[in-house]
C-alpha cells in the first residue's frame, strides 16, 4: 500500500479523499491555490503545497506545478478527484512517466471515454445502446446547424471534454444552435482548454440514471448499483438518489451488464460511471462514461456500504477487488442534495462572499437514519468567485425512500448558512414536492415545475397553523424572559396575556391562546368568536439566539429555521421551502397593526441591476438606443459562467453606468431606461 498520496483537487472532494486515506493510514498531501491558502482541505492534509494563483487555469489545471508538488513531497500516488485534471489523459500519462500511480483508470480508458465520439464507437462495439447523434468534429456553427437539422430537433450541443453540465446547451431551432454553439465553444475553452463540440439527439421526458462500475487491474469488473440524477437545473445535477425509483431488477441488470461490458472493452480499472438516458418505457441509451469518482458517489456508498475511494486506492496499488458482483447488495435508500452558493429567488445567480455562519446538521447514524455531509468549507471561510459554487453535499440514508426524503427535509432545515445566498429553500421545496415524492421525475422536472423560477413554497393551512404554533412558542420564551429583568417595581411585573394573534406575512391572522401545560406549551387555535378550533402542544429546548428550532409539535419532530425579524415584528421562519414572517402580537397590538399603512417598495423596473457580484464582460447597448424585450443588454461573468442580462421590456436606454471590465457589486445599477 502507498505511504503517501497527493490529492490534485480542492474543496469537498479533496477533504473526502483525505478522510479515507487517513482511515487507511496513508499520509496525505494537499495542493492549493493562493485563494485556498486557508481552505479546509489544506488544514486536513498532512502536508500542503501551493501550486499557483487563484485562477484554476494557473493552479489546479497546471500539470507541471502538480508534478513538482508530487516530486517535492515524495507522494507515490495521486487522486485527482473530479473536474480539473481528473479526466485529462495527458495528466495520467505524465504521472505514468514520472513513475507515480494514478488513482483512476488507465490512459487509454480516459482517452476513449473522454472523447464523446470515440466513446460512442466503443459503446456500439460493446453492444451498448446509444443515442443517435453526430460522431465527427464540428468546424463552425453553420456545420452545427446542418448536423442538427439532420438529427432533428431538439438537439444537445456539448463540449467533447466536458462532464456534468458545463458547456452544454439544448437547441430547439437553428438560431438556438448558432447561439449555443458559440457559447459552448467559449465555455469549453475556458473550462477545459479544449474547444471540440458534439451534437446529438435530445431525448424528451428522459431520466438520467447512471451505473457505478468498479474494476481492478486483474480483469475483474463489477457494477455497484445505479444512481438516479434526474433532478437537474440547466443540466446541472441538484438532487441524486440511489437506487432509482424507476428501475426494475431486470433493467438494472441489463444496464449493469452493458456497463461492465463497456468498461471491459477499454480495460477499465478503478471507479467509473456509465451514464444513461432512460425514456419512459425504460429504454436506456448510453450517454457517456465518466472515468473518475463521481460527485454523487456518496449515495452509492450509503446503500452498499462500500467506500469507493478506498477501493480506488486499493486498485491503484494493484490489489484485487475484494468484492464480487454477488456481494453487492443494495440496502435502503439514499438521497443527496447539493448545496450551492446561489440565490434561488433570483434565478439561481451565483453568490459569493464570506460564510459568516455555516452550521451544517450533525453527521450521525440514529434510529436507522444516516446523515452525512461532505463539505470543503467552514464557518468564517470564503466562497470565492474562482471555483465551483457547490459548498456541500448533504446526504441522508434510511430504510425507505420516503424516510430518506423526510430525513433530508429536516436535515436541510437544520442547515444554517449566513453571509451568502444558498439553495436550501429550493432543495427543501423539491423534497416536499408531490411529484418528486411520487418518484415520477424526469430531467425536465425543475424546468417544468418551476417554469418561472422559484418563489418559495406557499404556506397552506396546515403549515400555517404549525408555524403559528412554533412562533408562539418562540415569542413566549422571549416575552417571558423580558419580564425577568432587574429593577422592577415590586409586585408589578408584566403578566403575559394568554391570547395572541399570529400574523403570517401580515396576510393570514391566526388567533391563539397559549398556556403552560404539563408536556410543554399548549397552544389552541381560536376562531373569530374565540372558540377553540384545535389544540396543540409544543416542546423544545430552543432558546433565544438559536437559529434553528428543533422540537416537537403534537409529538411530531419539527425543524424550523428561526431568525428574529428586523424591527422585532416576530420571526422569519424557514420550513421546507417556505419562508414566512410570523409576528406574534397581543390582540390589541394586532388590531392596531392593521391600521399601519402598507409600504410600497421603490420602483426599480427602469433600472438594470447587476444580479450578482461579477465582472462586466460587455455592454451591448448605448445611451439613446431603443431596445426590445429579450434583447441582450449586458453580459456579466461570475464563477466562470457568463450571464446574459436581457431587457425585460421595450425601452430606450438613458444612462449607462458600467463598462466592460468593471467589477460590480450585487444590485449595482448597470444602466437605466428612460
Amino acid at each position: 500500500m502507498f505511504k503517501k498520496i497527493l490529492i490534485a483537487n480542492r474543496g469537498e472532494i479533496a477533504c473526502r479523499v483525505i478522510k479515507t486515506a487517513k482511515k487507511m493510514g496513508i499520509q496525505t498531501v494537499a495542493v492549493y491555490s493562493d485563494a485556498d491558502k486557508d481552505a479546509l482541505h489544506v488544514e486536513m492534509a498532512d502536508e500542503a503545497v501551493n501550486i499557483g494563483p487563484a485562477a484554476s487555469a494557473q493552479s489546479y489545471l497546471v500539470m507541471e506545478n502538480i508534478l513538482k508538488a508530487i516530486k517535492d513531497t515524495g507522494a507515490e500516488a495521486v487522486h485527482p478527484g473530479y473536474g480539473f485534471l481528473s479526466e485529462n489523459p495527458k495528466f495520467a500519462e505524465a504521472l505514468e512517466a514520472a513513475g507515480v500511480a494514478f488513482i483512476g483508470p488507465n490512459v487509454k480508458a480516459i482517452e476513449v471515454m473522454g472523447d464523446k465520439i470515440a466513446s460512442k464507437k466503443f459503446a456500439n462495439e460493446a453492444k451498448v445502446n446509444t443515442v443517435p447523434g453526430h460522431m465527427g468534429l464540428i468546424k463552425d456553427s453553420d456545420e452545427a446547424i446542418r448536423i442538427a437539422n439532420d438529427i432533428g430537433y431538439p438537439v444537445m450541443i456539448k463540449a467533447s471534454a466536458g462532464g456534468g453540465g458545463k458547456g452544454m446547451r439544448i437547441a430547439e431551432s437553428e438560431s438556438d444552435v448558432a447561439e449555443g454553439f458559440q457559447s459552448a465553444v467559449n465555455e469549453a475553452i475556458n473550462s477545459f482548454g479544449d474547444d471540440r463540440i458534439f451534437i446529438e439527439k435530445f431525448i424528451t421526458e428522459p431520466r438520467h440514471i447512471e451505473i457505478q462500475v468498479m474494476a481492478d487491474k486483474h480483469g475483474n469488473t463489477i457494477y455497484v448499483g445505479e444512481r438516479e440524477c434526474s433532478i437537474q437545473r440547466r443540466n446541472q445535477k441538484v438532487i441524486e438518489e440511489a437506487p432509482s425509483p424507476f428501475l426494475d431488477e431486470a433493467t438494472r441488470k441489463m444496464m449493469g451488464e452493458q456497463s461492465v461490458a463497456l468498461a471491459a472493452a477499454v480495460d477499465y480499472e478503478s471507479a467509473g460511471t456509465v451514464e444513461f438516458i432512460v425514456d419512459k418505457d425504460r429504454n436506456f441509451y448510453f450517454l457517456e462514461m465518466n472515468t473518475r469518482l463521481q460527485v454523487e458517489h456518496p449515495v452509492t456508498e450509503l446503500i452498499t456500504g462500500i467506500d469507493l475511494v478506498e477501493q480506488m486506492i486499493r486498485v491503484a496499488a494493484g490489489e484485487k477487488l475484494s468484492i464480487a458482483q454477488d456481494d453487492v447488495k443494495l440496502t435502503g435508500w439514499a438521497m443527496e442534495s447539493r448545496i450551492y452558493a446561489e440565490d434561488p429567488y433570483r434565478n439561481f445567480l451565483p453568490s459569493t462572499g464570506r460564510l459568516v455562519r455555516y452550521q451544517p446538521p450533525e453527521e450521525r447514524v440514529e434510529n436507522g437514519v444516516t446523515v452525512r455531509n461532505d463539505t470543503g468549507v467552514y464557518e468564517g471561510g470564503e466562497i470565492s468567485i474562482f471555483y465551483d459554487p457547490m459548498i456541500a453535499k448533504l446526504c441522508t440514508h434510511a430504510d425507505t425512500r420516503e424516510e430518506a426524503v423526510d430525513a433530508m427535509s429536516d436535515a436541510l432545515d437544520t442547515f444554517y448558512i449566513e453571509g451568502i445566498q444558498h439553495n436550501i429553500p429550493f432543495l427543501g421545496a423539491i423534497m416536499e414536492h408531490e411529484r418528486f415524492r411520487s418518484g415520477n421525475i424526469t430531467t425536465g422536472f425543475i424546468a417544468e415545475e418551476y417554469p418561472d423560477g422559484f418563489e418559495g413554497v406557499a404556506v397552506d393551512d396546515g403549515r400555517a397553523e404549525m408555524l403559528a404554533v412554533v412562533a408562539v412558542f418562540l415569542n413566549e420564551i422571549h416575552a417571558a424572559r423580558a419580564t425577568m429583568i432587574s429593577g422592577q417595581l415590586s409586585g408589578r411585573g408584566r403578566e403575559l396575556p394568554e391570547d395572541w394573534v399570529v400574523s403570517l406575512d401580515d396576510e393570514i391572522a391566526i388567533p391563539v391562546r397559549a398556556f403552560e401545560g404539563p408536556e410543554g406549551l399548549d397552544v389552541s387555535i381560536l376562531d373569530a368568536e374565540g372558540e377553540v378550533v384545535s389544540s396543540h402542544t409544543v416542546e423544545s429546548d430552543w432558546c433565544p439566539g438559536d437559529t434553528v428550532f428543533t422540537g416537537e409539535v403534537d409529538g411530531k419532530n419539527v425543524v424550523v429555521q428561526t431568525l428574529r425579524a428586523k424591527g422585532l415584528q416576530g420571526y422569519n421562519l424557514g420550513y421546507r421551502g417556505s419562508l414566512v414572517n410570523a409576528a406574534v402580537r397581543t390582540e390589541r397590538g394586532y388590531e392596531l397593526s392593521k391600521l399601519m399603512p402598507e409600504k410600497i417598495e421603490p420602483d426599480t423596473s427602469n433600472l438594470l441591476l447587476c444580479p450578482m457580484p461579477g465582472l462586466v464582460v460587455s455592454i451591448h447597448v448605448e445611451v439613446g438606443q431603443s431596445v426590445q424585450a429579450g434583447e441582450t443588454l449586458a453580459v456579466v461573468e461570475a464563477m466562470k459562467m457568463e450571464n446574459i442580462l436581457r431587457a425585460e421590456r421595450d425601452g430606450v436606454i438613458s444612462v449607462v453606468n458600467a463598462e466592460a471590465g468593471d467589477s460590480l457589486a450585487v444590485d449595482a445599477i448597470i444602466l437605466e431606461f428612460e
Partner: protein, 510 residues
C-alpha cells in the same frame, strides 16, 4: 352616589376620545395611531396611570373659551415596561393639533418633575402643530419650562423622544435636548421652520419630507438616532431600547437572564481579518458575534457609517459598543463619525454603561472639507469623551490603530481598563508607505531602497507587539476568544470605582 361614580366614568370616557371620532379617523387615515393607542402599545398591558386627564386650557382670546377639550392636547402619566417604571407624555394631534398651551406644558412639567424625583426614564411622543398661537407668550414660556427641565434631567434619567408626526418650531427643541430621538418613516418630520417659511425667506422649494423627514434626519443631519417603519414598530423598538437602559444615573445597568455562553468561542473570527491589509471587512460581524444572542441595538445606523455605535449585552448586562467600520471609508474618523461616537460614549458614561471599543482605524480623514468643517474640534469631542469617561472601558484593536486615532479610540493612555489587541493589530503612527516616505525622504525614487525600508517598517511596527512590550496593550488575544476575554474583564470591572475631580461641569469642546 352611584350617579357620581358613573359621571366620572362618563367624563373619563369623553376625555379618552380626545378630539373625537372624526379626528381619530383622520389620524388613522394618515397611517398614525392616536396618542392613547401609542401609549397602550408601549406600556405593559393595563399599567398606564394617567395624570391630569381633565386639564383644560384657560385661554380666553380668539374664541378659545368655547374650544376646550379635556387633556388639552397631551396625554401624560406613567406605567411600566416589563415591570420597570417609565414616565411619558404623548402629544394628542386630535386635540387642537396637539399644540402647546400653558396648561399643556404644565402637564408635561409635572411628569418631568416626577420622573426626575423617582429616577425613572421619561419618554416624549411627538405629533403636534407647535405652539398654540392664541396663547402668545404663555406658550413660549411653557416651552421654556419644558426645556429647562429637560436640561436639569439630562444625565440623571434617560430622556427619549419619538417623533411620530409633525414636530416644528418650538416643539423641536425639547427632543433636541434629550438623549435619543427616533422618527417614524414617512409620517414624521422635524424642522425649525417649515417649507412655507423657507419658500418665503430663501425662495427655496422643498417638501416637508425633504426638509426634515425621517430619512434626512437619520442619515444626513444626525438629528435622529434612527428611523422606524411605522408606529407599531416604533413602540416595539422603544420597549426594546428601554430594556437596555438603567433607570437613572445611580442605578445599575439592568440585568436579565441570558441564554448565551460567556465562554462561547467564535472560531470564525480568526479569519475575519483579510489577508490583504487594504481589504475591508464587516466589523458588524464581530459586534454581532460578540454580544449575547447576537442582539445588537444600533444607534445612528444610517449616519456616519464609518463608526458603529449601539447597545448589546454581555452575560445579560448592557454594554455600549463603539467600533470603527472598515467597510465604510476604511473606518476613518471624520467629523461626523467623531461626533456620533462622542455623544454615544458620553451617554454611556452618564448611565454607568461599560464601553467596549473595537478599533480598526487608519486615522483621521484628511482634506480641506474636513479641516474647514472643524475636524480638530469634532475629533477632540471623541477624545474628550473617552478621556473623561469613568465607566469600565475595554478596547480591542483588531487591525489598524494609527496615529492620533489610536490615542482617541479608548487607548490605555485615556485610562482604558483593559486594552487588548488581536495578533493582526498594527499599532503605529501611520501606515508603512507614508512613514517610509517621511523617515527616508532622501531615498524616494530609489524603489529598491524604499521597498527595503517599507519591509523593515512593516516588520518593526505593523504588529501589536511594540505596544505590548510597553504595556500599552495589556494582552494580545486570539480573535476567537474575544467574547470570553471581554466578558471576564467586565465581570471584574463591575465594581470599578473611579471619580473625576469635582467641577461645576466640564467644558467639552462643543
Amino acid at each position: 352616589m352611584k350617579d357620581i361614580l358613573r359621571q366620572l366614568e362618563e367624563r373619563r370616557a369623553a376625555a379618552r376620545m380626545g378630539g373625537g371620532e372624526r379626528r381619530i379617523e383622520a389620524q388613522h387615515s394618515k397611517g398614525k395611531l392616536t396618542a392613547r393607542e401609542r401609549v397602550e402599545l408601549f406600556l405593559d398591558e393595563g399599567s398606564f396611570e394617567e395624570f391630569d386627564t381633565f386639564v383644560e386650557h384657560d385661554c380666553q382670546d380668539f374664541g378659545m373659551a368655547d374650544n376646550k377639550t379635556p387633556g388639552d392636547g397631551v396625554v401624560t402619566g406613567w406605567g411600566t415596561v416589563n415591570g420597570r417604571t417609565v414616565f411619558l407624555f404623548a402629544k394628542d394631534f386630535t386635540v387642537l393639533g396637539g399644540s402647546l398651551s400653558r396648561n399643556h406644558s404644565k402637564k408635561i412639567n409635572k411628569v418631568q418633575d416626577m420622573a426626575l424625583k423617582m429616577g425613572a426614564p421619561i419618554i416624549g411622543l411627538f405629533d403636534a402643530g407647535g405652539a398654540r398661537i392664541q396663547e402668545g407668550v404663555d406658550a413660549l414660556g411653557g416651552y421654556g419650562e419644558v426645556f429647562s427641565r429637560n436640561v436639569k434631567a439630562s444625565g440623571v434619567i434617560p430622556q427619549i423622544s419619538i417623533i411620530m408626526g409633525p414636530c416644528a418650531g418650538g416643539d423641536v427643541y425639547s427632543p433636541a435636548m434629550t438623549d435619543f430621538i427616533f422618527m417614524v418613516k414617512d409620517t414624521s418630520y422635524m424642522f425649525v421652520t417649515g417649507p412655507d417659511v423657507v419658500k418665503t425667506v430663501t425662495n427655496e422649494e422643498v417638501t416637508a419630507e425633504e426638509l426634515g423627514g425621517a430619512k434626512v434626519h437619520s442619515s444626513r443631519t444626525s438629528v435622529a438616532d434612527g428611523a422606524w417603519e411605522n408606529d407599531v414598530v416604533a413602540m416595539t423598538q422603544l420597549r426594546r431600547l428601554i430594556d437596555f437602559l438603567p433607570s437613572n444615573n445611580r442605578a445599575d445597568v439592568p440585568e436579565r437572564p441570558f441564554f448565551d455562553d460567556a465562554e462561547r468561542k467564535e472560531m470564525s473570527l480568526d479569519t475575519l481579518i483579510p489577508e490583504n491589509p487594504n481589504m475591508p471587512y464587516d466589523m458588524k460581524e464581530l459586534v454581532v458575534k460578540f454580544v449575547d444572542e447576537g442582539d445588537f441595538f444600533e444607534i445612528q445606523e444610517d449616519f456616519a457609517k464609518n463608526v458603529i455605535t449601539g447597545f448589546g449585552r454581555l452575560e445579560g448586562r448592557t454594554v455600549g459598543v463603539i467600533a470603527n467600520q472598515p467597510l465604510v471609508l476604511a473606518g476613518v474618523l471624520d467629523s461626523d463619525a467623531s461626533r456620533k461616537a462622542a455623544r454615544f460614549v458620553r451617554f454611556c458614561d452618564c448611565f454607568s454603561i461599560p464601553l467596549v471599543t473595537f478599533v480598526d482605524v487608519p486615522g483621521f480623514l484628511p482634506g480641506t472639507s474636513q479641516e474647514y468643517g472643524g475636524l480638530i474640534k469634532h475629533g477632540a469631542k471623541l477624545l474628550y469623551a473617552y478621556a473623561e469617561a469613568t465607566v469600565p472601558k475595554i478596547t480591542v484593536i483588531t487591525r489598524k490603530a494609527y496615529g492620533g486615532a489610536y490615542v482617541v479610540m479608548s487607548s490605555k493612555h485615556l485610562r482604558g481598563d483593559f486594552n487588548y489587541a488581536w495578533p493582526t493589530a498594527e499599532i503605529a503612527v501611520m501606515g508603512a508607505k507614508g512613514a517610509v516616505e517621511i523617515i527616508h525622504r532622501k531615498d524616494i525614487g530609489n524603489d529598491e531602497k524604499i521597498a527595503a525600508h517599507t519591509k523593515e517598517y512593516e516588520e518593526r511596527f505593523l504588529n501589536p507587539f511594540v505596544a505590548a512590550e510597553r504595556g500599552y496593550i495589556d494582552e494580545v488575544i486570539m480573535p476567537h476568544s474575544t467574547r470570553t476575554r471581554v466578558a471576564r474583564a467586565l465581570a471584574l470591572l463591575k465594581d470599578k470605582d473611579l471619580d473625576n475631580p469635582w467641577k461645576k461641569h466640564d467644558n467639552i469642546p462643543l
